[in-house]
């Protein structure tokens, strides 16, 4: 292991970030954030999804350059030209989805780009030996000559950690590393972190789950909407106080959700299982109802929507849409039965960026418009205009490429496209992600109107105020299962966060 001789004084500041600000385009994601990482200390960076934690982690790890602010390592100001540079300076970023090379061996994954050499050629024997040394320092046993393909996320994270140790990293930044680990794996990781702490490493830990944070971390900083709202020692706080910091703002109702006009059950899901993503999901949504599906990133919410729409196959379970059983998992049949899915990643799955608004707007009904395989442009434009007018899309004309529209208006085109199919069930995945505040309210208004008109809406959202404002019921997922259900009147931000992060209510109120 890296020697005790260079072991810094416990508690000394190793890496400090001061007054960091960051923006992506016009969106400010971090404002004037300062944090210090100390030797022998695990510093938790907490916040809701979208609070800016991961952005901060990536700045500390050299992936992003901040717009303003300074980084200092052991008191000396540094700039990081990239993750390689950060690693060379002793700062290692461990990712939620580890960066491994599936076809290379474990040993090579640890040493890629800087393999030990002898007489100018790679010394494979020494590389394997060193790999074993660093892994055993972490208390992990892996076959170092076996390929990485097939190893669990936890094992692959250990490979990244071993790689960081082999670089003699002084600072480890763990970005949501526990999000996809099982409880047993988390325990193992926590033991590893204790070892590293004892060696004087400074560790930043980005996470959500309260029990983990409180058992692993020594210091907690909370971010909210890109601002740092507080920092405290773990011993001086409790879960309740931290949750209050995380939620903070008054949850003002963004739109008026009138009394819902409920009809018959439009979407019924029972016992839906797709291992290992989710298991035994049962839920139902009535016509006119908005059901929010809350939970942390990785809880399996998107997977459930995809499975309902038939994009992924399932192991077992049944989806019924207005009396039609969807046996074959096939989006075309789901669409026929009246299901529409507005995906999370607009750029990737939602729109055809280089195409015009009307081409995008008429896409979902193309097959229906086609006569002898040909589509009349005029009809398609007219149809598309029905959707865009109904949702009041702001545009110059419908020949514009959809790329020129704002995120909010793009989203309206996507929703409008689906409305033309006369859906009965609308699945929304993060409907307002990447959309600015003003436009969010517009999208919310659209969603509420659609529900009023009799659509059943199932909405995945990580934006708690949005979930609370729109949902008639909130289902919370954790680890691939629905763990609680709140009626509109009982739903609170604290309750949802507690359920999503696995803290019991007793803990929250303790």
């Amino acid at each position: 292991m890296s020697s005790a001789a260079v072991n810094p004084v416990s508690g000394a500041v190793i890496l400090s970030a001061s007054h960091i600000s960051m923006r992506f385009g016009p969106v400010e994601v971090l404002a004037d954030i300062s944090v210090e990482l100390r030797a022998g200390e695990v510093h938790a960076l907490l916040g809701e999804n979208g609070a800016g934690k991961s952005t901060l982690a990536k700045i500390l790890g050299g992936v992003y350059k901040p717009v303003s602010g300074k980084l200092a390592l052991l008191g000396n100001e540094i700039t990081l030209s990239g993750p390689r540079d950060a690693a060379a300076k002793g700062i290692a970023l461990i990712h939620q989805e580890p960066l491994t090379f599936p076809d290379l061996s474990v040993a090579e994954n640890i040493f890629i780009g800087r393999q030990p050499t002898k007489a100018g050629r790679i010394d494979w024997a020494k590389m394997r030996q060193d790999a074993e040394k660093y892994l055993s320092a972490l208390g992990v046993t892996l076959d170092v000559s076996a390929p990485v393909r097939g190893l669990s996320v936890a094992d692959r994270q250990m490979i990244e950690l071993a790689s960081a140790l082999s670089l003699n990293a002084k600072v480890l930044i763990l970005d949501e590393t526990t999000a996809s680990l099982t409880p047993g794996e988390v325990k193992k990781l926590s033991a590893v972190l204790d070892r590293l702490k004892a060696e004087g490493k400074a560790i930043a830990f980005i996470g959500h789950r309260m029990e983990e944070i409180f058992s692993i971390c020594d210091r907690i900083s909370v971010l909210r909407d890109g601002l740092k709202v507080g920092e405290t020692l773990r011993t001086e706080t409790n879960v309740d106080a931290i949750l209050r910091w995380m939620v903070g703002r008054d949850v003002h109702h963004l739109v008026e959700r009138g009394e819902p006009n409920l009809g018959d059950v439009a979407l019924d899901v029972s016992g839906l299982t797709r291992k290992p993503r989710f298991a035994d999901i049962s839920l139902s949504v009535k016509a006119g109802e908005i059901v929010g599906l809350a939970g942390l990133v990785g809880a399996g919410r998107t997977d459930v929507l995809r499975a309902i729409f038939g994009l992924d196959t399932v192991d077992s379970g049944l989806v019924t849409v207005v009396g039609t059983k969807l046996v074959h998992h096939d989006p075309a049949r789901a669409m026929e039965a009246g299901v529409a899915l507005v995906p999370e990643d607009r750029q990737q799955h939602g729109v055809l960026m280089p195409q015009s608004i009307w081409e995008n707007g008429s896409l979902a009904i193309m097959p229906r418009l086609a006569k002898l395989g040909l589509v009349d442009d005029k009809t398609a434009r007219k149809k598309s205009a029905e959707g865009t007018q109904r949702l009041a899309v702001k545009m110059r004309d419908d020949e514009q490429t959809i790329r020129e529209l704002s995120g909010g208006n793009q989203q309206k085109v996507v929703i409008g496209k689906w409305l033309l199919t006369n859906p009965k069930v609308l699945l929304l995945d993060e409907p307002t992600r990447g959309i600015d505040v003003g436009a969010k309210a517009e999208v919310h208004r659209v969603i509420v109107e659609l529900a009023q008109s009799g659509l059943a809406v199932l909405m995945v959202s990580s934006d708690l105020p949005e979930v609370l404002a729109l949902s008639d019921r909130v289902l919370v997922m954790r680890g691939g299962q629905i763990v609680s259900t709140f009626d509109r009147k009982d739903a609170t931000a604290e309750g949802i966060i507690a359920a999503a992060s696995g803290a019991t209510l007793a803990e929250v109120t303790a």
Partner: protein, 332 residues
Amino acid sequence: MKKLLARRELSLVVAIILIVGVAVALQPRFASEQNIRSILLWVPLLAVAAMGQTAVIITRGIDVSVGSILGLAGMTTAILLRDYPQLGVGGAAVIGIGLGAILGAINGGMIAFAKVPPIVATLGTLGIYRGLTFIVSGGRQVDDYQLPKDLMNWSLEGPALLSNVPFINSIPWVVWIALLVMILSHLGMTYTSYGRDVYALGGNPDAAALRGIPVNFVTFMAYVLCGIGGGFAGVLYASRYGTVNPSGIGNGFELQVIAAVVIGGVSVFGGTGGAPGVALSCLLLGVVNVALSVLAIADTWQMAIYGLVLLVAIIADERFARSARKRAGEAV
């Protein structure tokens, strides 16, 4: 990975034995010295060009201009030797290889730095390099009597050192050269950090960039290596055939090279495969080539058969990659 490669290499060996067995059974003439010689002379050309292509395909790229690189470099070498015999065979070979490197660098520059998709960039240069081959030759071929005897001897004689060893002494220089190239490729891909970077880049490009691997340089160099292989093969072509015709040399050769690489176990999805498998698959294609002519199956069938075998290999790879990902619980 070792096991997987071993499996691929084993099945290639079995395929070679099977084809030889069937060919000998049907036409005992197959095992004649004449035929063994023609396999031995055909395979080195393919193997030398395939080694560079191997690096390219491991990075998830492709170089379809390799036949044209072979053509332009081989043509240029032949013309130089005809017009300036004082250059010597060695000097002309160095120029041919150097030209191949430059042509590869043009491909690599477009792909690594200007971000032109590999298939588009090299399809363009396939046409350009072929056109240049006609321009530099004026459309006229170079005949064997115009070339120095030394060049031909590469394909006729072995090293003087081995001239007294029975059987071995009939192995010509080109075979030794190809063997050396294959061994160097294997060592380079296994024991240099550049070689390992090629695998890392092909295995997970995003991770490679974040781990600080100089992704653009690695990509660029893969095409340079492919150009070097093509250029070298062009020189060997001139030695092998003596007559160098601008429309004949290397025409359609890219199909054979790419087939050899893919059949040799290099996945078009990147990150796997290596020189030993590709070497065996070159030998396999050589055996097939000779078997087809000995069994009097028309030449015209050969292209179609390479194409078919190539597609079968890619489909098998794709299915294999899918099931591997499935086992690993990754998105398919």
